[in-house]
Symmetry: C2
DNA sequence: AAATCATTCATACGTCCGTCCGATTAGGGA
DNA sequence: TCCCTAATCGGACGGACGTATGAATGATTT
């Protein structure tokens, strides 16, 4: 009967995912996870043999959620500029968490990038999902030739804004810069690409 | 005779600083430090009682070097635009290290920002040194009212570019975006601030 | 009702960590 | 020369970590 099992496994993954974000992967212990998941110490080994396996599951979990989110946006918004605006709305919607813990993708990749190459490659795919989706939007907006360039630039801006607001715990900066990004997108949509 | 001592202490700080950058603070052990510094295991305790103290010393070490660097730039370059360009030249000069390990300041702050608040506050000062220096340059360039805004924006762009090139190990992106930043600075210097 | 197997636990192993100590060496002032 | 102290070592402490085991539990199937 894998019914109950699935739910327990899911509880572990979600608790671990949250802890990895809040405390960092290396700073999160097995004990932290089992405590947060409300699972007895030894039971976790039934589902995951190593800590790395938990991280893999957490990354997969994030991957699925992002895919769903992007699909949802494709359905909810008709124009590419609306979708791009929805993307940067993440900054204001998640302002609190970003200030406290930084960008979930960015901080995880940064941490794994220091000597945990195999795992970082998996986390890198989270970025690539956004990049390819953003590229589609820019292409549809009329920037087919520079779609990837613009996508990466937008991602970089988001990362920079997240990092700085995290470092300084400065919500004002985050919101101001998000507005600045918003105006940049509007200029792009109007075809005025002098500043792109 | 504190002569020899000073040099040993310095060796420890420099080795630790390098390891903290390459491996991260939490992933660096005492053993790593003593091995890299070529100091016997127990001797390190003579200089630093705790690991946190080593980090404090490393941050202080970085602080002094940055201060020297900024002073040097003030002496070497006469115009603010030259100085601003020198700042972003960091990106191309350190391209290799950034690709491998990310921005030294950014990654350290990001790591410490997750549950090590006291230490993060110290690392935050590294950012503030650059910000205040950059503010001075933008003010001198004629943007007195928006100097801090522009300084923070430039820092954020640097952080974003570093993060993205680190995540993807993409030197091309780093150099392209640095050039893009360069053109942005030139536009600012020419008084065309439509895109600022 | 018995057999089976997924799942739940408490507990323990070995390792490495940060920390600390005690003994030893070395070098300059008296 | 002797002495005092700065500095150097090797080694060991307790604890936490990731990992592992095996017995107990409970539901489902036959």
């Amino acid at each position: 009967m894998p019914r109950k099992s699935e739910r327990t496994r899911q509880r572990i993954v979600e608790a671990a995912n949250r802890l990895f974000y809040h405390k960092g992967y290396n700073q999160t212990s097995f004990s932290d996870v089992v405590e947060a998941a409300g699972v007895p110490r030894g039971n976790i080994y039934y589902y995951f043999k190593t800590k790395d396996e938990i991280l893999e599951a957490a990354i997969k979990y994030r991957t699925e959620r992002i895919a769903q989110m992007l699909e949802g946006w494709n359905g909810s918004y008709r124009t590419p500029i609306e979708r791009l605006h929805r993307f940067i709305d993440i900054l204001s919607n998640s302002a609190d968490a970003i200030m406290r813990y930084g960008c979930p993708m960015g901080t995880l990749n940064t941490e794994l990038g220091k000597g945990q190459g195999e795992l970082q490659e998996q986390a890198e795919n989270l970025f690539k999902m956004f990049e390819s989706w953003l590229s589609d939007q820019f292409a549809e907006l009329g920037y087919a030739g520079r779609a990837r360039e613009l996508a990466l630039r937008l991602m970089a801006q988001g990362q920079g804004i997240s990092t700085m607001s995290h470092v300084h715990s400065d919500a004002g900066f985050l919101l101001r810069e998000k507005e600045h990004l918003s105006r940049w997108l509007d200029q792009l949509a109007e075809g005025n690409d002098d500043c792109a």
